[in-house]
Subunit: 258 residues, 2 copies
DNA sequence: TCGAGTGTGTTCGAAATAGTTCGGTTCCCG
DNA sequence: CGGGAACCGAACTATTTCGAACACACTCGA
C-alpha cells in the first residue's frame, strides 16, 4: 500500500469515527508504530487532524481547551468498539434503522456496512459517509436535512420535519451524558430536538453510552432514562449506577471491552 | 505494446483500484521503472492522476467520489468560472438563495462565501462543504435531506419534502443539458424531481449552463426553457442558439471567459 | 542516406520511506 | 502518590524510489 493511500485512509477513519489509535492502525496496515506516528505527524502538520497521546482525533477548533479530553476520547475507543459490536448484533437484514450523530454511532456504522438490504436514516454526515464509501448496493441511506453543527450533525426544523415523515424499526442513539435526574442529554439544543424527533419516529430505542457518560449532564435533555428499550454500556460503570439503571431501563446490557 | 495503450491501461487501473505502484506496473508490462514513471508523469500532466512516492493515485485521494465530481470539474473551467462570477453579482447580502447540485454551482458557492447574512439551501454536499469550510458565521446553510447520488446530490422524497417547506428568493440551477424541445434536463430522474422542487420553492430562477450544454438532452426534463428568469451562458454558444434563447428566455446573459 | 523525433533502458547521487533502538514522558490504577 | 505499562520522539540504518543525464534503437519523411 502506498504511503499516500494509507494517510488518506487514516484521515477518512478519523473523520468517520472521531479518533484512532496508533496501535490499532499499525496492526491494521501491517506497519510499525513509528510509521503510523509519522503519518499522523504529516497529517497534523497540514492541520487535517490533531495528534493526542495514543493516537489522533479530528481537529476541533471550538473545543481545543481541556487537554485531557481529546486523549481520553481516543482511549475510550475500546469501550466504544465493544458497545458498537454488541449493538450491531441487534440489527437484522432488511431492517430500517436510524443512527443519531456521534462517534459511537459512527463506530457502529462501520460494523453495519455488510448487512444486506439495510435502510439507514441518519442526521450525521460522517455516518452517511461510512455507508456511502463502504456500503452495499442493496442498502439505502437517507440523510436528513438541516443545518450543520460543528460535530457534523444535521439539525433544525428541516431535520425535524424530514425525520417526522419516516418510521423506523430501531434507533441507535449516541448521547453525551446520562443521569438519573436529567435522563439522556446533549450539549446542543438543536441536536436534542433532532434526537427527540428520531425517538418519535422509531419503534424501539437503543441508547449507546460508555461508562464515562454517567453523571455527565448536557444542557438539553432528550428523553428520560426509562424511555430507552435497551441501554448498552461498558463494565467501567460502577456498581451503584448499574443497580439503578437495571431498575430503570427495561434492558441493560453491559459489555466488557477487549 | 504501444505507449499510448499502456498509459490508457494504467489509467484504467488507477481508476479501478484507487492506486498503483511503479514496481508493480513495471513488472506487469515488462518495461523499466523509468518508463512507467514517464507514463505516470504524462498522465499527471494532463491531470488524470496524481503521482505520489511509489506510484500514483486518483486525483483526489481520500475522497472516493472521484468519478462523479472531481474529474468533471476540470472541464470547461474557464467558462464555468466566468458564469459563476456573473451569477454571484445577482446575490445581495441577506438574500435567501438555493443552489442545486453541480460543478458550476459549486464554483458559484466559492464566490459567495463572503456575502454577509446569506441563507443558502442546497441539496449538494460539496456545495454545503464550501460554506461550512469557508463561510461566515452570519451565514446559514441548510442541507436538504435525501439519499445520495454518485454526484453527491441529495435526492428523493425526503429531499423534495424538505425543499417544499422552504421559500427562497433565488435559485441557481446547474443543468446537464438544454434544448429547445426538452428544456433543461438532467441524466437522473430523482435529481430532476429535487430540482423541480427547488424551482417551485423559489421566487426567481437563474439557470447556469455553459455552451456545451446546448443540444445535450438528459433523460429527465426539469422545466421548459422559458421557465427560467435568467439564463447565464458563455460566448461559445453559436449564433442560432443565441437568437433562439434570447427570444425564449426573459433575460439571456452571455459572458466571455477570461 | 541522413537527421529529427520518439520511445526506452541504464547509471547514479539524492530523497523519501520504514524499521529499530533507546532514553524520557505520560497515563492508569491501586 | 507511586509503580508499571504504554507511549513518544530523536537518532541511526537499511531499503526503496526518484529524476536527471546520457545512450541506444526505431520510425519516418526529405
Amino acid at each position: 500500500m502506498l504511503a499516500q493511500q494509507r494517510q488518506a485512509a487514516i484521515l477518512d477513519r478519523v473523520r468517520a469515527t472521531g479518533g484512532v489509535r496508533v496501535s490499532e492502525l499499525a496492526a491494521e496496515y501491517g506497519v510499525s508504530d513509528m510509521t503510523i506516528r509519522r503519518d499522523l505527524e504529516a497529517l497534523a502538520d497540514r492541520g487535517l487532524l490533531a495528534k493526542v497521546h495514543g493516537g489522533a482525533t479530528t481537529v476541533s477548533p471550538g473545543s481545543a481547551h481541556e487537554p485531557g479530553f481529546a486523549a481520553k476520547s481516543v482511549r475510550q475507543r475500546d469501550e466504544k468498539a465493544a458497545i458498537a459490536m454488541r449493538a450491531a448484533a441487534l440489527v437484522s437484514p432488511g431492517d430500517a434503522i436510524a443512527l443519531s450523530a456521534g462517534t459511537t454511532t459512527a463506530e457502529l456504522a462501520q460494523r453495519l456496512v455488510d448487512v444486506p438490504s439495510l435502510t439507514v436514516v441518519t442526521n450525521s454526515i460522517p455516518v452517511a459517509d461510512v455507508f456511502y464509501r463502504g456500503g452495499r448496493p442493496d442498502q439505502t441511506v437517507v440523510l436528513t436535512g438541516g443545518t450543520r453543527t460543528p460535530s457534523d450533525a444535521l439539525v433544525g426544523p428541516v431535520a425535524v420535519a424530514a425525520i417526522g415523515t419516516l418510521h423506523l424499526d430501531l434507533l441507535f442513539l449516541g448521547v453525551h451524558g446520562m443521569s438519573e435526574r436529567a435522563g439522556y442529554t446533549t450539549p446542543n439544543l438543536m441536536e436534542a430536538d433532532a434526537d427527540r424527533a428520531l425517538v418519535q419516529a422509531s419503534e424501539r430505542l437503543v441508547v449507546l453510552a460508555d461508562h464515562t457518560k454517567w453523571g455527565t449532564v448536557g444542557i438539553s435533555s432528550i428523553v428520560p432514562l426509562s424511555r430507552a428499550d435497551v441501554l448498552i454500556t461498558d463494565s467501567g460503570l460502577d456498581e451503584e449506577a448499574r443497580t439503578l439503571l437495571s431498575e430503570t431501563v427495561p434492558e441493560l446490557v453491559v459489555v466488557n471491552p477487549q
